[in-house]
Symmetry: C2
Amino acid sequence: MRIVIDGMGGDNAPMAPVAGSVEALKIYNDLEICLTGPEDKINEELSKYDFDKSRIKVLNTTEVISTNEHPVKALRRKKDSSLVVALNLVKNKEYDAVISAGSTGAFLAGCTLIVGRIKGIERPALGPIMPGKNGPFMVIDSGANVDCKPNYLLQFGKMGKVYCETILNEKNPKVGLINIGEEEAKGNELTKTAYVLLKENEANFCGNVEPRDIPNGDVQVLVCDGFVGNTVLKMYEGVASTLLSTLKEEIMSTKRGMIGGLMIKPAVKGMKKRFDYKEYGGAPFLGVDGICVKAHGSSDMKAFKNAIRQAVTLKENNTIQKIKEEFENCD
Amino acid sequence: MRIVIDGMGGDNAPMAPVAGSVEALKIYNDLEICLTGPEDKINEELSKYDFDKSRIKVLNTTEVISTNEHPVKALRRKKDSSLVVALNLVKNKEYDAVISAGSTGAFLAGCTLIVGRIKGIERPALGPIMPGKNGPFMVIDSGANVDCKPNYLLQFGKMGKVYCETILNEKNPKVGLINIGEEEAKGNELTKTAYVLLKENEANFCGNVEPRDIPNGDVQVLVCDGFVGNTVLKMYEGVASTLLSTLKEEIMSTKRGMIGGLMIKPAVKGMKKRFDYKEYGGAPFLGVDGICVKAHGSSDMKAFKNAIRQAVTLKENNTIQKIKEEFENCD
């Protein structure tokens, strides 16, 4: 298994990608990693660790794409960027998977333009795994396609299903449509038509899922357009952090609360662990002809290590091939 | 001030509408209320209370529209329903305001079809007030219009601004556009165009607001289409209840946690009070030519009392007239 990692992607680069790579080597014996980026910087980080030098290669690149650049323009101009060089290694089948915590826009555009789509798939989609109360779930698409046609949503559902079968080890993952009502007739033009397509063409489709039920995690694949999916993820994050910080304020406002607060610390820690999205690695970009994982911009060593685990699992389970077969059978 | 209340709307009808009406009489001296519904049932509830009989009138109606009926069909068929009769009283200017906790679809359709739109307004919108960490905010539209044109969003922003000026007592409420990125160029076709319209035509426009920042309550008027708005509200509700129930589970799983849990009870109560949406009454349906307030289906006495307060404030501040003026000045 060969993985290329954008050594300059993310807020904590190159420290976090380097540290995560070294950690992952310890777990996976047949893993080989290539880190792209300025040789001197990457090697300086690597020099802090003790590891088998034959298993990590550094590929020198001279440019970096930042998050505030126009994605497509940056991809065209910066041919020697850590991202573009990494993507080309997957395109040429020299590496099995690519991971980046850098600009989401540039990564998604690069995967589509350089690695390329799987035949039959209209729009690749980003599908992060989120922690729910009763189990993890995927929100697909969560930001790659902000304006969608109903058929895209059907395809998102099918790709998500194949992914959850392999990665979450769910034999029959439920596929639901994020909608503002439970009944078939509810929703906007997009969801009403997508409902019919999913009902007729996806055996695992279980109907509409109202946003208030999403955090329960009872439905594994949640289908939506990228605008709605991104809104769902960001509301999840925002409400959780606002509630917890307000609770903390209230607790700290009295002596009694402060003592109680100390006593429930393990409980709060337990809850945070149950909702730690870093456990699930990055967000797979599904529908492209290679394993492409977008790690969160704020990824630390642990998040990179888990993103690598995710790429390994995708390879071991032959997920990309299974997605291809799902779409061959459809036609 | 004369308010008509759908006496059969909501999960707790007719108890809650009756109890809320009686309570409100104690606060507002010049308030007169009409309750629509089956005379015998409403009077039976009223008989439990001691109040000035001249200030509450019961108007006998024989039909009730349920939440699972097709809104427009139900409005046409059930002319003698508690809702349709109430709406006609506002249309004929016999009453200043209407409140219902019944079917949202039927209420919104009825307000538009029976009470009628304000001239110049393309689509009336539902704008509930939500509790935020740093203050309340309005999400407009939150479900009345699931497919929107950019100009609708501009109008939602202007109506929300007028409402927040009068009801929230904000001299210069900030108007923001719910979007998946802060920069102007972010979003889908709808939000990109709406951004330009808002920037050019609404002085209080402060740019995009990412969903993760919504619960802070730093922006008072949050503009979006009804699908996104409904998703935001339901995620707010779902994440909050999932997090709190998970925290409770973790707390109750150890003895130490249980003791700590008892000690932070007042803090939890304090936090819940800060996020109690019932404090703000119902959701005003803005853009129709009358004061129309949709109360939550689960409204209790307190929620009805606050919805009545809201209607009184709207009347006292001449909000409908101010919305009319805002749209006259636009043309």
